[in-house]
Amino acid sequence: MDFLSLFVLVPILTIIAITFTKDFKGTRLVSATGMSIQLLLAAVLVIRYLMERHAGNTAQWLFTADHLWFKSLNIHYAIGIDGISVAMVALTAMVVFAGIFASWEVDILPREFFISLILLSSGVFGFFISLDMFTMFLFYELAVIPMYLLIGIWGSGPKEYSAMKLTLMLMGGSALLLVGLLGLYFHSAPDGGQLTFNLTEIAKVNIPLAAQRFFFPFTFIGFGVLGALFPLHTWSPDGHSSAPTAVSMLHAGVLMKLGGYGCFRIAMYLMPEAAHEMAWIFIILTTISVVYGAFGAVVQKDLKYINAYSSVSHCGLVLFALLMMNQTAMNGAIIQMVSHGLMTALFFALIGMIYSRTHTRIIDEMGGLMKVIPFLSVVYVIAGLASLGLPGFSGFVAEVTIFVGAFQHTDTFHRVVTILATTSIVITAVYILRVIGILLLGPIKNDHYLHIGDAHWYERLSTVTLVAGITAIGLMPLLLSDMINFSMKPIIDKILALPVTGIF
């Protein structure tokens, strides 16, 4: 058994085990056990990965395995990881683990809920470990579909509309994506060799420039939809706000990262020339995402909407940094992915927990919560501070790296957009501090709040897991950035070999 395949297998086995459970308690116990094992596996993966590197293993991909699947089309089940995917797998494992505990009280069709949630996570894990674009695409779609049921059945508000909108927009994105992937496949052997979906193989060949120009936008926008690229981000606020807690956590925390990861790993890595040529268009779009998302968050009154718009802004920053195409910024992008994943998952978890106590998500209806739910309030403050980029938390590391990297460009265009994007830091501070002020401080708005209890053990477990991740990266950023740096090298070398183009 390939070690990495366990990441897909454990969720599937968990799902099978869940189908045999008799009651609600059994279901969540099995889910929690399965995902704990998954978290443990992720920890083992990180340790094994670091050990391999320290032992001097310099191969780009580790723990690879390759099984031929469809011979005539040369489709393989090919898996392997580098530092970037390890970070993503670890992030996913943490968020899913936290998500299971955050949904401890889901009592409407619990079995179906946990099955869909874990199925979704198996798609995400599969995506991050795939080296073959076919399996990558398969897992990508597998991750999107359970979302429809999760939001449609267990969501709130205009859930049916949001679920449908989200699913259709993401599937529309995958329409673009599929064309891009097929284009790469049919140009993967310009010398007349065997066509392949394997991205490490394709990285070795030079895709003709004309083909790159045609297929790059398909691939980048295709993944970009999931990464909330402006103006295709509109599914995100609706989807996130209607989704149940754990689904918002997983979706904003992990699923949106599939977008950034795909843009980087497939669109930019395999078609670097086109990426250089067209970067300016997407830089403009992502700058809009970053600033517009932040402003969008300022005017919202619903906690979930605030966080959804802030996700648009923060995920925009990921794509923005990737498109800067230098080592520092791209490192920042990956750290931002992990950081935002943990942060936003924590936010959504907290919002869910607060909602279950106050039965409202409108900030103006709440106040003085610090006095009644101190634990959750403190964690909320931590999440907020991480989000606005306070030193000591992961957000700071990510943002500094991104903006330093972006400002390394000496041409006017890059500098202007960087300055514009940095304004989001200020705007973020505005909405975060405002929310904290209204929500947690001041007098208690409603007498009913006096009797709401603070966090249960499972809620503490869920939030502490995520806080641990956020502070670990904040205090010891080298742990993560070293891991990423090493894996980024071959990619950066390939991209840096080309001249950087600005439009001014």
């Binding site: 011979k71 005539s72 429809y148 059945i153 259709l168 329409a175 284009g183």
Partner: protein, 474 residues
């Protein structure tokens, strides 16, 4: 004819024998014992199905009118699976009081159409092709009108027979022109003599139109929805799956072999009709409330996807089409199986009836969801692989924009498939359909579909077998 020749026609002869046995058995049964014909027919057909997979000599008979090779045998075997599932799913409905007297007719007509399809697939000249086509179509009209006391069923029969007569007329006109311009009706000779002469192109267009009617490609699809809605569920499922599959098979064979010299003409036509068929099929499906009508339009859209494989004009395209039809048989019959299981007991066929179905019939709902996801092309089920390969084959010919339009259409189709999922899982219903206990054969049919839907993609060997048997024009 010696034994070798008999074996070459094995599938057709076996089916004929089954038909005769069913007929003779029926004649010897008393009125109240007619129900025993069900296990006899299904059992015999099952044996035929199994024998179909045994190795058999291939060859040419009747001076080239009948050709049997490994590919055609595979196609026939695929259709056999489809018919077998349809038979299993029909049992509950056949056992109903009003159908009991006509059980053998149902099987006879079904088997006759399949014999026609088999001859059509094995045809080596246009005469055999036409005979097969008519043998496949005329009993079909009788099947559509099976519940003759129901106006809509009778109407479906009439509509089917009239539209197929019209399409046959057009087709025959095309065939006569082909004969007139090439001096032959044998596929190989026609192919050799076919040039780009205007009259020959015209002949092709007539032929194409006739076939487009049978596969219900846009704009020749107008009969489909009414016939599908009016016919009994099991006949509809047979029409939409097995009959359409057979038509797709023969269509691709004829296009790839006989009309290979005018590929550049039919490619453009297929390209445009593919877009029209997918899009219009989808747009109409969006508005349907009756599930049979809905599945009819969705099957029109699916035919548009099949054209994506045909337009590729390559071995890959052919493999994709055959593979897709196989996947489609399981997926669509899965969906129809559920509709049939529910309709046979409750007569309920509209989407609103399915509101809250999951709470009373979780297994049926799950299978329905699985089938719909497969039809929509969602992983990890087989439909994903089927569609992916169709898209790949179109992309291999450089038709990236076509692929893009197709995938967008797949997204639109996902919307309406999700509407049913929504009805079953999300919508509330004060009085949902009560728990339905399906009989053993229906369940068996549904299990076969489930296994097919789940396993087909992962078990890549089947795709490789089809690849090895497919032939191409390049």
């Amino acid at each position: 004819m010696n034994i070798h020749d008999f074996l070459t026609m094995r599938n057709e002869l076996l089916l004929t024998i089954v038909a005769v046995i069913v007929l003779v058995t029926d004649l010897n049964l008393k009125k109240d014992k007619k129900i025993t014909i069900i296990p006899v027919a299904i059992g015999l057909f099952f044996i035929t199905l199994i024998i179909g997979y045994l190795p058999v000599p291939t060859g040419i008979l009747f001076g080239g009118m009948f050709r049997s090779n490994t590919l055609t045998i595979l196609m026939k075997n695929i259709l056999n699976i489809g018919l077998f599932i349809v038979m299993l799913q029909s049992v509950t409905w056949l056992k109903r009081e009003e159908n009991r007297e006509k059980i053998s007719e149902f099987f006879l007509l079904l088997i006759s159409t399949l014999i026609g399809m088999n001859f059509m697939i094995s045809s080596g000249d246009f005469l055999m092709f036409y005979l097969g086509l008519e043998l496949a179509t005329i009993p079909m009209a009788a099947l559509a009108a099976f519940v003759h006391h129901q106006t809509r069923s009778a109407e479906a029969g009439i509509k089917l027979i009239l539209s197929s007569a019209l399409s046959s007329g057009i087709l025959l006109f095309g065939l006569s022109m082909i004969y007139g311009t090439t001096g032959s009706i044998f596929f190989t000779e026609v192919a050799a003599a076919y040039t780009k002469a205007p009259l020959q192109v015209l002949a092709f267009i007539f032929f194409f139109t006739g076939m487009a009617f049978k596969i219900s490609l846009v704009p020749f699809h107008l009969w489909t929805a009414d016939v599908y809605e009016g016919a009994p569920v099991n006949v509809t499922s047979y029409l939409s799956v097995v009959s359409k599959g057979a038509a797709s098979f023969i269509f691709i064979i004829v296009l790839y072999t006989v009309f290979s010299s005018i590929t550049f003409i039919w490619k453009d036509v297929v390209y445009i009709i593919s877009i029209l068929t997918m899009t219009i099929g989808n747009l109409f499906a969006l508005r349907q409330k009756n599930l049979k009508r809905f599945l009819a339009f969705s099957s029109i859209a699916q035919a548009g996807f099949i054209l994506l494989g045909i337009v590729a004009g390559s071995k890959l395209g052919m493999t994709s089409v055959i593979y897709f039809v196989l996947v489609y048989i399981f997926s669509n019959l899965g969906a129809f199986g559920v509709v049939s299981a529910i309709s046979a007991v409750t007569d309920k066929e509209t989407m609103d009836d399915y509101n809250g179905l999951y709470h009373t019939n979780p297994k049926l709902s799950l299978l329905m969801t699985l089938s719909l996801f497969s039809l929509a092309g969602i992983p990890p089920v087989a439909g994903f692989f089927g569609k992916f390969f169709l898209f790949t084959s179109a992309a291999s010919a450089g038709y990236y924009w076509l692929v893009f339009i197709a995938v967008l259409n797949a997204t639109v189709s996902l919307y309406y498939y999700l509407l049913i999922v929504k009805a079953m899982f999300i919508n509330r219903n004060e009085s949902p359909i009560a728990y339905i206990k399906s009989d053993i054969s229906t369940r068996f049919g549904l299990i076969i579909c489930t296994i097919g839907i789940v396993a087909l993609g992962f078990y890549s060997e089947i795709y490789e077998i089809i690849t090895n048997l497919s032939f191409g024009i390049n």
